[in-house]
């Protein structure tokens, strides 16, 4: 393995990972559902490219499987499914979130700093890129924030999916060779099935509540 290729690979990975972070912040400030879905697809595409870079630069062909699965599942299939759902239930825009946009931005900035602090002791363990783990934890935390902050059921599903992207990023960053194939396949199918289940549930909620505003789901207390 030429040292040069792996160094270039490492830089590319850092670049792509930071682009993933930028896309995440765009999702935080974006209110159109379709745009959010496309931003998510783009973020997944970046994840797939990171996996591809790892596969080529380090000769870890195994990781190509992650790349292909991400491409099929998260870049093509799930966004298509979610967009169809948005058209069918005819709700295209998010309501006013609980925290307004500038404040959300500030909170997400704080979360990013926090993630980098948390990931600091582990940077030495990262085998690829630098601070990729920090990005992964940021995706997790901002995903959680998105889930709390948004009212539409579909946005919450998207937020969940971005946290999932964070997990896969952490897996690539920490292990280089990815995780065993059977586990990759299991995670992939679980995510796809989970989104389908959530989609059906969103549809049913929309039918009985005439809305997919989750803040209306408030009858059960204590």
């Amino acid at each position: 393995m030429p040292a040069n290729a792996s160094e270039t690979g490492s830089r590319l990975i850092t670049l792509l990972a930071s682009l993933m972070l930028v896309l995440q912040l765009l999702v935080v400030v974006q209110r159109m559902l379709i745009t959010n879905i496309r931003l998510f697809a783009l973020q997944s595409l970046l994840l797939a490219s990171i996996a591809t870079v790892v596969a080529f630069a380090y000769g870890a062909w195994h990781v190509l499987v992650i790349a292909v699965l991400t491409l099929i599942g998260k870049v093509l299939f799930l966004p298509w499914l979610l967009e169809r759902l948005v058209r069918r239930i005819k709700i295209e825009q998010e309501l006013r979130p609980f925290v307004n946009m500038p404040a959300s931005m500030l909170i997400c900035g704080a979360l990013t700093v926090l993630s980098y602090v948390v990931a600091r002791p582990f940077t030495a363990l990262e085998r690829l890129g630098s601070n990729t783990l920090g990005v992964a934890i940021t995706l997790l935390l901002t995903g959680f924030f998105l889930m709390i902050n948004r009212r539409k059921a579909l946005t919450q599903v998207l937020a969940l999916l971005t946290t999932e992207n964070g997990v896969i990023l952490a897996a690539i960053a920490l292990t280089t060779y990815g995780i065993p194939l059977i586990v990759e396949l299991a995670i992939f199918f679980d995510v796809v099935v989970a989104v389908m289940v959530l989609g059906i549930l969103v549809f049913r909620i929309r039918e009985s509540f005439d809305s997919m505003d989750v803040s209306k789901l408030n009858e059960l207390k204590w």
Binding site: H62, P121, F122, L160, V167, V183, S208
Partner: protein
């Protein structure tokens, strides 16, 4: 092929129920399937004992069952069988009253075996990643069971259940990956280390301690959410109260304990790597918080099934506290408690299901009292099960709770035993006051008398009878299995 067949039987039953035409056939398939699983479970139990602490493995260690897994398989099969027996009349009545469409009833008979398959795979998978995926299968297959009635409230409960569950599982996946990453260096070189729990445990002293710490914290919060540990428990009362009673019985009777099992696997790994203090203390803390939180909610609860859900929260808390205390007696008591609780809680939910079908409400005030007169059979079963669940002799929960409290006194943290006792007394008073009012109080005049076929009462009483038998007489072989399992949890094979 024992482990493989344990997994395949419920899966095949689920698939067959997709196509089975008459309703009776689906019922029969479910009952037959779960009875087969129980028989296979007993066989597995004997096979594990024959190996004396060793593990039964299949598919080059892909499936692995030690004493702990064998015990969980028994719990899953017993609760599923009891549930499928009870479900027969429950759904026939719902169908007759038009509360449920035939399609939804089919959903129940298809998804319940799938749910059980997921749980069985959790306890039989050796690979931590596959275990995670199986927990997700279990979570996803139960979502539509919770939403079966398609009421606004049940959709709300299902939404909270699936969202909080998925969030927890993302965290658990992080934990799982950290655990895997911690093995990469000690395994050395360019080869991929095995993701199997057994080989990670063999490597444990050499694992990266920082990553294992992080892995355990993520797994604790993640699987703790599925186990309903406070403060991640908020989905639990909603899902348990809105699901149809057979599903509530499964959720409360076993699925919470399966999540605890997943957490225990991480606990064992962490203990082997970092020593006893760290993970035990965290589990103890979350367990105590859950117990303390459950008490007041039970005392002020207005809905029968929600009260039962909070009682499950308290029992899961107690199990975690007992594991966290980490003395031979408490861990043994925790395992015993899992078993007795799995036999008791479903019966309470069965009785609650009858009450709901008869009175169409579960609100204590709207129910009034005097169920002893209007629904004598159900009230009797409810009363006996309530006595059992509050830990009164002669029922087993008394023995297991006493074991835990006595074990706790001998450890360094004797104060924990005092806290356990105090919360147990609060819960005891809460449950008995509420249910005494319900069963004994004055009946409302306009209430019709319920007619239950004898077979249905028998199906409800079956777990109670088993509880009584095993309370008075714990077979020596079962005792040996529990001791082996307790040793595994305490990291002394």
């Amino acid at each position: 092929m024992l482990l493989t067949s344990i997994l395949c039987v419920p899966l095949i039953v689920g698939l067959l129920c997709l196509f089975a035409r008459p309703h009776v056939l689906m019922e029969a398939l479910n009952i037959a399937g779960f009875a087969t699983v129980l028989v296979l479970g007993v066989k597995l139990f004997q096979a594990v004992l024959a190996k004396n602490g060793g593990a039964v493995t299949e598919w080059s260690e892909f499936l692995r069952a030690d004493a702990l897994s064998a015990w969980m398989v028994l719990l899953i099969s017993v609760v599923s069988l009891a549930t499928s027996l009870y479900a027969v009349r429950y759904f026939r009545r719902d169908l007759a009253e038009g509360v449920l469409t035939a399609r939804r009833a089919r959903e129940f008979y298809v998804l319940t075996p799938t749910f059980a398959t997921g749980m069985l795979l959790v306890v039989l998978a050796n690979n931590l990643g596959v275990m995670w995926a199986a927990v997700e299968v279990m979570a996803l297959s139960s979502v539509f069971l919770v939403a079966l009635y398609n009421r606004r409230t049940s959709l709300e409960a299902a939404w909270k259940y699936v969202m909080l569950g998925s969030l927890g599982l993302v965290l658990a996946l992080f934990g799982t990956i950290f655990a895997y990453a911690s093995a990469i260096r000690p395994a050395g070189g360019e080869t991929m280390p095995s993701f199997n729990w057994s080989s990670l445990l063999a490597l444990a002293p050499k694992l990266n301690p920082q990553l294992i710490t992080l892995a355990f914290i993520f797994a604790l919060v993640g699987y703790g959410t599925k186990a309903g540990l406070a403060p991640m428990h908020t989905w639990l009362p909603d899902a348990h109260s809105e699901a149809p009673s057979p599903t509530s019985a499964m959720l409360s009777g076993v699925s919470l304990k399966i999540a605890v099992y997943a957490l225990l696997r991480f606990h064992i790994l962490t203990t082997a790597c970092l020593g006893t203090g760290f993970s035990g203390r965290l589990i103890l803390g979350f367990g105590l918080f859950s117990m303390l939180l459950a008490g007041p909610f039970i005392l002020t609860q207005k809905n029968l099934k929600r009260m039962l859900a909070y009682s499950s929260l308290e029992h899961v808390g107690l199990i975690c506290v007992a594991v966290g205390l980490n003395s031979p007696l408490t861990v043994f008591g925790a395992l015993l408690h899992m078993g007795y609780h799995a036999l008791t809680k479903p019966v309470l939910f069965f009785a609650a299901g009858n009450i709901h079908q008869h009175h169409h409400t579960l609100d204590f005030r709207r129910l009034g009292g005097g169920l002893g007169r209007t629904m004598p059979a159900t009230a009797l079963v409810l009363g006996v099960a309530a006595v059992a669940v509050s830990g009164l002799p002669p029922f087993g929960l008394f023995v297991s709770e006493l074991t835990i409290v006595a074990g706790g006194v001998t450890t360094q943290r004797a104060w924990v035993s005092a806290v356990i006792l105090a919360t147990l007394i609060v819960v005891f008073c809460g449950v008995l006051i509420k249910l005494a009012g319900l069963i004994l109080g004055k009946a409302r005049a306009d209430q019709p008398r319920e007619q239950l076929p004898a077979s249905h009462v028998a199906a409800m009483c079956l777990p109670l009878a088993a509880l009584l038998v095993f309370s008075l007489w714990l077979p020596p072989s079962l005792r040996q299995l529990l001791e082996l399992a307790a040793n595994i949890i305490r990291g002394m094979p």
